[in-house]
């Protein structure tokens, strides 16, 4: 007996439960991250109260440090402090930055757009570069070009971010003057180099995954048949293998995108990009706990969202992937 077409209500219900399940999963992950970061921050060398007094420019004396300890609530037991912080966070109050004296929530919101822009641009670079490398490596005949590309991919994946940044800035900004060396004020041109530094390594990794997957698919029955029937290799790859490789690419791409979010920490520092990543580093340097916690949580949330988005896309593109998750 032929399977019945699922009722419309059943399909919607499946979607809703799936989305809700995802949200619960994400919230649980963020909660765990908040607990872990809270306890890790307690292990760093360098007393928060001393740093707070020093950040105010005052001479550090034991009375001042003790008073600051009390003011910051550091004399309470850790569990209670965590619950207090969590309670306030749920109300949208992420505390006040010791370094600048302003509310963390406002500062973080100001910095959200630059980071999201950077991640989006980096993601675009990743996709384009991944497609380029993966396709060219697969389509090219002979052994030289693919080997060369594999070497180039390896270089981009292994090169540390600051080294890549240094090279790109030295060539494209200082020598050629095409792009600004740092900062966000040059419009779209200012976005190019940071996006490249962010996206090239991930793009190279994606390219390798794509090339491998395409090779696998080329040896599948239907494509062997098509080749035997005389369809050109390039056509097979682009029309049939590539769409089928989309799912794997999206899943891998999702993980890479999550990594991109955390890589913004380094890239923003290098390029003076006023986003959450550089905010995190500045806060860490001064042991400014509240901005640090907020930045960590926000970046974690962004990474999780990015990954969730690409998994959702993968599910939308290929129904089989919904089962595979």
């Amino acid at each position: 007996m032929a399977p019945t077409v699922p009722r419309v209500r059943g399909r919607w219900w499946e979607l809703v439960t799936r989305v809700l399940g995802r949200l619960v999963e994400m919230s649980a992950i963020i909660l765990v991250i908040s607990m872990v970061s809270f306890s890790l921050l307690g292990f760093t060398k360098g007393d928060v109260a001393t740093a707070a007094v020093a950040a105010k420019g005052l001479a550090v004396t034991s009375e001042r440090v003790a008073a600051e300890r009390h003011r910051l609530g550091l004399d309470l037991p850790a569990a209670q402090r965590y619950l207090n912080t969590l309670g306030r966070a749920l109300h949208g109050d992420f505390g006040v930055s010791v370094r600048t004296g302003r509310e963390v929530t406002g500062e973080v919101v100001d910095r959200l757009v630059p980071t999201v822009t950077l991640v989006a641009a980096g993601g675009l670079v990743t996709v384009l570069v991944g497609l380029l490398f993966g396709l060219v490596e697969t389509i090219a005949r002979g052994r030289v070009v693919p080997a060369l590309l594999r070497g180039v991919c390896l270089v981009f994946v292994s090169l540390p971010g600051f080294a890549l940044a240094f090279l790109l800035v030295a060539l494209f900004s200082v020598e050629l003057g095409w792009f600004p060396t740092q900062g966000m004020s040059g419009g779209l041109r200012a976005l190019v180099l940071p996006a490249l530094v962010l996206g090239l390594p991930a793009g190279a990794a994606l390219g390798r995954v794509l090339a491998t997957r395409l090779q696998e698919l080329l040896s599948e029955q239907y494509l062997v048949t098509a080749r035997a029937q005389g369809y050109p290799r390039t056509a097979c790859i682009l029309r049939w293998a590539l769409p089928n490789a989309a799912v794997t690419s999206l899943v891998v791409g999702g993980n890479l995108l999550a990594l991109l979010v955390t890589s913004t920490i380094v890239v923003e520092q290098i390029f003076g990009w006023p986003g959450i990543g550089s905010y995190l580093i500045d806060s860490l340097r001064f042991r400014d706990w509240h901005p640090l916690q907020a930045s960590v949580l926000l970046l974690a949330a962004l990474a999780i969202c990015a990954r969730g988005l690409s998994l959702a896309l993968a599910a939308a593109v290929d129904p089989r992937a919904r089962v595979a998750q």
């Binding site: 760093t44 005052l58 600048t100 200082v174 050629l176 740092q182 005389g230 050109p232 056509a235 042991r287």
Partner: protein, 542 residues
């Protein structure tokens, strides 16, 4: 059976066509992206004449606000454009008139009378009068957090007999008072309109040559103050761009995005980084004699007990090749230091008044005399000559290299150094808790020296002093409170003699002032201190 279609009949030309379209598209996009950027690196030859223009300066750290009374503010060079002092620190410590046109100090040193300049207005039009000055002074003079300004400990009363006269009375004579009044903060004068009714800082308004147009986390834009009393400042705009990374600053300078970097408090440039600027005709490196010394200091209170023996400290002094450090680690821009202060500080010890020769045998001999023996790390009973050196690599670019060099050199005389690298907060923590044996310490530089450093680091009453002794306390007190210049000079000489005789610290090198500027900028000279940045005579050719 139907013939199999051959490749040629099923070849779909539009695939190749798609590749060409894609390639053309990429070229087109990159061409438009790059078309406007070609002029970025070579802008020196166009634009208005040197009267006017915009000067772009790098800033190493973002600033929260420009409140001159807030001790968190660290952008001294920016504050210097907005706010002015009563007197300015000139070359080698001579004081120049600023908001005070002339001044007198009474014979007993207790009364300082300032005659304020006529016709001075804040950039918002408010008049600068003695009453305004008095209110400003009262905001900082009785705050114990400002104790690094010695006036706060000696201040009596402030009077304003008329609109142009300000009288400061002290409880005991304190000669540095005038020099302290040339600091950038907190002693300068903001407008009363900078504060709201409850005394909270709302906006930065001063009497200086420039005023704030806008401020964000990435840049501070200043524009000319048209009502500046000192004549019309040349530049239309001064833009401070925040670039935290020193390589990025260099790249920005080379690419022509900023015009000026350097200074200890602005956007530090390391001596070895100047090598990268060598063969660039459009850039110039400015270097001037040192105003600060780098010292190696000892924890004599809670550190290794061996350090309390002056012979050990003396031996350490002879075991360090200062000339080699100055030449190799600072690109030849530094000089070896044999005293606490470089010679251009007022009342500083004379240069070369003692020779701290590099002599390993002498050092080893001293250590043996002190009873420390052994072929590896020397020891005497339970005490080994093993010292913990805490290091903040951010202190100086060559901090790490210097610590390793010191470690290697001291090992050759049987002293073992453990280098503990900490980030700035952990370092501040360790320094405050006296959890170290050795650490590097740069002197403050003018206008704080010599009395500022002595006040904060060489008196018994200071919690984290570098060295102290009751006799030293007395001599410092005499130097600071006597009204006779000759007595003061003699007292300072005794302080230096005392510090040297007891081997209180190990001076290492005189740190150079290093700045770099684009040659398109005309009329720039380094200020008398690293805290000043005189820009009124500067013009930008492009």
């Amino acid at each position: 059976m139907k013939a199999l279609p051959t490749n040629s009949s099923t070849r779909m030309p539009r695939f190749r066509y798609r590749w060409r379209v894609l390639a053309a598209g990429i070229l087109l996009v990159s061409a438009t992206a790059c078309s406007g950027g070609a002029g970025g690196g070579n802008q020196a030859s166009e634009g208005p004449a040197p009267g006017g223009g915009t000067l772009r300066i790098a800033l190493g750290q973002a600033e929260a606000d420009l409140n001159v009374f807030d001790l968190k503010t660290h952008s001294f060079n920016v504050l210097d454009q907005l706010y002015e002092p009563l007197v300015r620190y000139g070359l080698n410590g001579t004081l120049q008139p600023a908001l005070a046109q002339r001044w007198e100090v009474s014979r007993d040193g207790l009364v300082l009378t300032f005659h304020l300049r006529d016709g001075v207005r804040f950039s918002d039009g408010t008049a600068f009068t003695a009453d305004v000055a008095k209110v400003d002074m009262q905001r900082w003079i009785s705050d114990p957090d400002n104790s690094f300004v010695g006036i706060t400990r000696h201040a009596g009363s402030i009077d304003t007999p008329d609109e142009r006269t300000l009288v400061l009375r002290l409880k005991e004579p304190y000669y540095p008072a005038l020099q302290e009044l040339s600091y950038v903060r907190p002693v300068r004068f903001p407008s009363p309109t900078s504060f709201d009714a409850s005394g909270t800082f709302v906006k930065p308004v001063g009497t200086g040559p420039y005023k704030v147009e806008s401020m964000s986390t990435t840049e501070i834009v200043l524009v000319r103050n048209d009502s500046y009393w000192g004549g019309r400042p040349n530049l239309d705009k001064v833009v401070f761009t925040v670039i935290p990374d020193s390589q990025a600053r260099l790249a920005a300078l080379k690419a022509g995005e900023v015009d000026l970097i350097g200074g200890d408090y602005l956007a530090p440039l390391a001596p070895e980084e100047t090598v990268q600027l060598k063969n660039q005709p459009q850039l110039k490196v400015l270097s001037q004699p040192a105003q600060t010394n780098l010292l190696l200091t000892f924890n004599l209170v809670s550190g290794n007990p061996a350090l309390r023996d002056p012979r050990v400290r003396e031996a350490i002094n002879y075991a360090l090749p200062r000339q080699a450090y100055a030449t190799t680690l600072f690109n030849g821009l530094a000089r070896p230091a044999t005293e606490v202060f470089p010679p251009n500080i007022p009342y500083a010890p004379k240069a070369n008044s003692r020779s701290l020769e590099f002599n390993r045998d002498k050092a080893s001999g001293l250590l043996s005399d002190a009873g420390y023996a052994g072929s590896g790390t020397r020891a005497k009973g339970d005490t080994t000559l093993s010292f913990r050196l805490i290091l903040d690599p951010g202190l100086l670019p060559q901090a790490k290299a210097l610590s390793e060099a010191v470690q290697a050199d001291l090992a050759k005389v049987g002293v073992d150094i453990q280098i503990d690298t900490l980030d700035s907060t952990a370092y501040a923590d360790a320094a405050t808790k006296r959890d170290f044996d050795l650490k590097f310490y740069p002197t403050y530089g003018p206008p704080y020296d010599p009395f500022g450093l002595l006040n904060n680091n060489f008196r018994t009453t200071e919690q984290i002093n570098l060295y102290s002794a009751p006799e030293l306390d007395q001599r410092i007190a005499v130097a600071l409170t006597t009204t006779s210049d000759s007595e003061r000079a003699a007292a300072y000489d005794q302080v230096w003699a005392e510090l040297n005789a007891n081997w209180a610290v190990a001076p290492l090198v005189e740190l150079p002032r290093v700045w770099a500027i684009r040659t398109a900028v005309k009329g720039f000279v380094l200020g008398p201190t690293e805290y000043d940045l005189p820009l009124t005579g500067v013009g930008v050719a492009s």
